[in-house]
Point group: C2
Chain length 141, copies 2
């Protein structure tokens, strides 16, 4: 059989597997603060700067609006964020944090350390991985 068609020789499969593994590591840790991984990413984007438009958030996370719209709606239903139409341009929806969403940041502060610990890998490997992945991501787009 063509070696190229073997799972072991594929690069893409390990990346796909690692990505799911990462989400699985986050799951129990984020469950304690009632967030999923994509929801946590949205919160990080908003903790950094707010309000932001729906598409600004989607662009930062590389998420299509078929994904981001229902994601934000679930987060609004949980009371983490609020959605307001921009009065100047009625097409735009501005996403802000609620008081509850702001307060969650304190609890979330422990997440990164917990994740590194749960993954059981060295910060050096993590940094090397990040640099390489970012390099490839930039070239791939």
């Amino acid at each position: 059989m063509d070696d190229e068609l073997k799972l072991k020789s594929q690069v893409c499969f390990p990346v796909y597997a690692l990505s799911r593994e990462i989400v699985n590591v986050y799951r129990p840790i984020l469950e304690e603060i009632d967030l999923t991984y994509p929801q946590y990413l949205v919160m990080m984007v908003l903790w950094e700067n707010e309000p932001q438009k729906v598409n600004e958030i989607g662009d930062k996370l590389n998420l299509d609006n078929g994904t981001i719209t229902p994601l934000l709606k679930r987060m609004a239903a949980k009371g983490l964020i609020s959605r307001k139409r921009n009065t100047k341009d009625e097409r735009v929806v501005e996403i802000s944090l609620t008081e509850s969403g702001k307060q969650l940041q304190t609890k979330a502060a422990e997440v990164p350390q917990k994740v590194v610990k749960a993954m059981g890998i060295t910060p050096e490997d993590l940094m090397q991985l990040k640099d390489l992945v970012v390099k490839i991501l930039n070239r791939a787009k």
Copy 2:
């Protein structure tokens, strides 16, 4: 704001983004042979060795049976694979390739080159990425 809670300083987000980017690169290429990325992975597992039990396939792809069972059913509905209960042990379902599934391998032979080309990255970077990711994956589990 705590630097650790910034998207840019997170390692996990680039991996998650790259994984989705990879699937997006595969999508149009696999569309030509009417496969999704997870379906393509299953085919690779079966082209290498056949028949295999449901869980053998799931273990190789790190997929839960809540994922793998419906995935295999969709593939059976497409006529790519067949599902037979093992007569010795009626709990086991053996997955085999149909004639159509076997023949697909020829068409799939071009997929790896097409993907490398579409991603626009060097084989060296790819290999380096793979080694690093595999190393981390092994430690993380």
